[in-house]
Symmetry: C3
Subunit: 474 residues, 3 copies
């Protein structure tokens, strides 16, 4: 890595103001309110309490807590990089959401030449933001804020196009986003970190460790994610029993993986003690693993088993796969996103496919054709008419069989992984362009590079030196 200046005084404002002027111009030109937020569309038949905001906003605030407080605290686990973890998360999130509103708006919410904005768009944009933040986990502490903004600038459109194409052409079931969010984010992040490989960091880094306080802070982040994950996984399901099941499965999956994580952590530690980073990360594996089948009739027992399986894979990944990937494949995955989002995402995708193959009318009743809407009979099929008596609003589908739907899921998994890996690698090369202020190896995981820090910020370090000296003197 070149010894480049990391002074942000000019380059950060230039990027931000160019971005902001562009965004405000695009907002002015193309963004208007959606019907639910536009005063002109209210008339004497409007019931204000039926406004979509009352369905969407409670979910939105829960996801806000996940994005800003959950990720923010979780990423603050490095002893000397608490500001960086928490504050670059805020910066990246704020920019990603603004940008995603425009990009997703263009692909998904655009008609009459305008992007129509409501709280529902914000929820979609926060999903795009979650994707960027997960990828951020792979390069945490090794990237400048400018690099993070450029990463978001590139990742959001690649994600939005993939999301749009997969939903429009492959038409998959993925309520909890295991494929589109977790797998995409994971392989994009791994692509980036592969290109940004820093050989010296494989030998360990004096600042890449935690303190007692930073560990506790990060645990609080975990707890925020834990508590609100059911909202995340259930936010884009159908309303009613589907959302109800999504909440139950997410909760059950998380509880199961939490217990398993404690057991494995003690079991894999040579002193039989618990490793706190396992609690910070691996406990959450169940939330991802139930994702792809979260709204299906998989039974509570299966959600429990998925939580345990995800946790085992994630834990083994942290212990054995991550060091191996770093040494052999030059993939330095700082927060282990491949374990928490990749391996679990793959298990979740497989579980989703099994659930799809097993889904039949006996298990779901006629709702089968609502949840798996592409299995509904095509327009003109007499079966459609029959079903529409049972479910008045049922839309005609594509008449897919379970096997066909499963094949499309497989196609989505592979194409998502392919596109995201490629996108991540190309983004990695862009991040190596000059002027993006990457930290030198020695200043990785170190707040004093990009922040004015208070005098005591490295006192634990200094203190330990003194204590060590002191101990030897005594």
């Amino acid at each position: 890595m070149r010894a480049e200046s990391t002074n942000l005084r000019i380059r950060l404002p230039v990027f931000v103001f160019v971005a902001q002027v562009t965004i405000v111009a695009l907002y002015a030109a193309f963004v208007t309110y959606d019907d639910q937020a536009d005063a002109r569309f209210q008339n004497n038949r409007t019931n204000p309490m039926e406004n979509a905001v009352y369905k969407d906003y409670p979910i939105f605030t829960d996801i806000q807590v996940i994005i800003f407080l959950g990720f923010g605290c979780l990423f603050a686990f490095f002893r000397l990089y608490g500001f960086g973890g928490m504050v670059f998360n805020l910066l990246t999130a704020a920019f990603s959401i603004q940008w995603a509103i425009l990009v997703q708006g263009y692909f998904q919410f655009c008609h009459d030449g305008k992007i129509h904005l409501g709280v529902i768009n914000l929820i979609y944009a926060e999903f795009a933001c979650a994707v960027v933040l997960i990828s951020f986990g792979a390069v945490l502490g090794k990237t400048s804020p400018l690099q993070l903004l450029v990463m978001a600038l590139l990742e959001v459109p690649v994600f939005a196009v993939t999301e749009w194409a997969v939903l429009k052409y492959l038409k998959i079931n993925d309520a909890g986003g295991s494929i589109l969010i977790h797998l995409f984010a994971c392989y994009f992040g791994l692509g980036v970190t592969f290109v940004l490989y820093r050989p010296h960091l494989n030998e360990g880094h004096a600042k890449a460790n935690t303190s007692y306080q930073s560990d506790i802070l990060s645990l609080i982040g975990t707890l925020f994610l834990w508590v609100f994950w059911p909202s995340f996984n259930s936010s884009l399901t159908l309303k009613g029993d589907d959302q109800h099941r999504a909440i139950l499965h997410t909760f059950i999956g998380l509880s199961a993986s939490t217990l398993t994580a404690f057991a494995l952590s003690a079991m894999l530690n040579k002193n039989g003690k618990i490793t706190i980073s396992d609690i910070q990360n691996v406990t959450l594996a169940g939330g991802v693993t139930v994702g792809a089948s979260v709204d299906m009739m998989i039974t509570p027992a299966a959600a429990y088993a998925l939580g345990m399986m995800g946790c085992i894979a994630c834990m083994l990944g942290y212990r054995y796969l991550s060091p191996f990937l770093a040494q052999r494949f030059k993939i330095q995955d700082q927060c282990g996103i491949h374990n928490l989002h990749g391996l679990t995402g793959l298990i979740s995708s497989a579980a989703g496919i099994c659930a799809i193959l097993m889904a039949d009318e006996e298990m779901y009743g006629p709702s089968l054709y609502e949840i798996f809407s592409h299995r509904a009979p095509v327009e003109g099929d007499p079966k459609l008419h029959e079903l529409q008596i049972l479910i008045p609003g049922l839309q005609p589908g594509l008449g897919r069989t379970a096997q066909e739907q499963a094949l499309f899921q497989v196609a989505a998994v592979f194409s998502t992984i392919g596109v995201s890996t490629l996108g991540g690698i190309l983004t990695g090369f862009v991040l190596k362009l000059p002027y993006l202020a990457p930290p030198s190896d020695v200043f990785c995981f170190d707040d004093q590079l990009f922040f004015e820090v208070p005098p005591d910020y490295d006192s634990p370090l200094k203190l330990n030196n003194i204590l060590t000296t002191d101990d030897s003197a005594a």
Copy 2:
């Protein structure tokens, strides 16, 4: 206490995996979705937006915050036991909820041979979990994670049976759970800690103190509890005006006890300063004290007065009763649950009885027979028919008088205290069985026993030694 090995490498995984395999088998055999979460029960008359999940989920997330973030931070108040407080809370809570879903399911939600699962069951299970966590407060820092799991394993069924028996046979009013939750949890915990008595701890313990950071962390826990307590107290009331009153009373009671706590804290301190542990605990007394009458027409002024009274009792308990119980009765109540849940629970029960005795139709209108449903006339009574014109859905009751209802409340208080004390004592003896890895006295309140800790975790301690040496040298 025997000097037993505290290595968790084998015993924790064995317990957890046996428990998890059992739980997943029981889930597979006996747990299915309830009508609101089952796709097969949706038909052309189902309005998805009327699914019970929309009534229950907002309350559920608030209680999740209380359980995982509130208790988690509050219990992290020891200087060297932040991991233990926060992380064993997570472990115990996750296990208790899973277990309570099954046990309460068997007693309360079982029909056609199946436990029917919806978000409402999770709310009930989180109440059972709160019971375990309150009891945990009595033995915080003195128990291994394995002991905590065993305690949860035993306490949840004792609680579930008591809850079921009291509600089914005594049929009491206790919306905020002052009797069934707070009194039960308190006396169970005292029973456990009585058996686990450690004489050396009465002389003070070098690690049983706080640091500036741990105190602030614990305060954050207090604030989470403060903010979401109205949701806790109102979650199982009738919908509508009853829930409305429960929220108002809880808020008023908490505000009143908060102010009183500041005043008493300064008054009882010899330097006229505020003691931070009073703010962490005693401010919350009002939330418990209003519990048993939280949905009744007690007037806002009475809720205020109850908040003050609960606070005074709780504060005096911390100052005078807890040391006395520890010295004389071998009851070492680490977090003072007897003050925050026991004394306040008794006051609350008494207030509930008064409110029941004073309740009449003038004060409540015909709703009297909804809130005090056992006072509704029996089937066949002409008064019932009259009332059913005013309140269409009114169920026939038992025709109890106010005095009769009050006597059943008294019976519930005594039987709850009796059963929980006995259950706690027996559980205490089980916790003394071998292989449960209890910490030796010297490693109580110390994270390094069960966790891999970062190098700086005891630096405040070392630092103070240096500073003291330094001061004396200078």
Copy 3:
């Protein structure tokens, strides 16, 4: 400042108990339940799920988080004043809300000689509380808890009267409270701090600085405010599309100001680094700036631009105006409330006036006369009848033109600033009365004055001394 005793042992309990006895007496005499919380008003046409509590309570909890956790953590930014910031916030908030329930109740919720209490009153009272807490920001660390309680005792009525008079007589549009909350609170606080001027503090204070942990804690407060600010700004709008827009605009304004704050922070720092106090405060400017026009059809682009403008004004205020005010005008504004609430409040007021001047039927449809209810035609005007066909529930208004409404807004701005400044100055003089235990200059920003502190609370300070000595020795 006199060297007065700061022992709280007698004076704090005396104040609190007198206040509490008075409050409970007033509650008993004058406070009853509102129709939605009173059992007697429920009858066979009542649908419990339509109780107002279900509209109001979710907003109420969000504001609770802002008040107790958001402000609490944000105010804990001083290294040695974490208890003070967080705990005096709790005390002041609890008292302000109790007091505001009574005072606002008298002015706004009183009929038949009784104050009618529901969750909606609590929301109003928490707004009054927010006013007091913002003013508290000006004098943070320089006032005793007793002074804060006296300030709340005086500020709440002045605010309640101003609010009542402005809404009743001037009848302005100010959904987000930029005028009534932010401007009032700011100028009241500046008035108080002007009178409490401490010349020595202009030379800097050894304790008036942050630590790494306190900065992170304060950031968490910022994130709580960030996440829940849309609930705050939208809580008193009309339901439906108005509230929907308020949420969108607040979110957009906050995102915009967040990005701008990062850019300006790096730009204005001589080393091109980010200053963490900018992130803690200036990121939030957009939330205030969109306030006065938050429910209007200002377009998303305008909300974005307002966020940027507010941020620029706020940032420049912190860098250049605050030091100037302290030096020249004896206004020591500890948290810079003039930047975050004053300057932004003025911009917001101006933007609100522009939005009012541009509002017409083309932009709003007939809803114009709901949002700007005073522009609705007067009783008897044939246009009113015409509009009532389009909007059945439309109330007759005052037939104001846009220009007239704008003039009333201007009048409200000036009268609010005038009253609050005067009220603040008078309150400042009251706070100088004897027996209120003001800290001496040297004990400002220092927890050990009013709290029993743990032994390590000033260890960072001591440690730095050692480290410095050590460095020079080495």
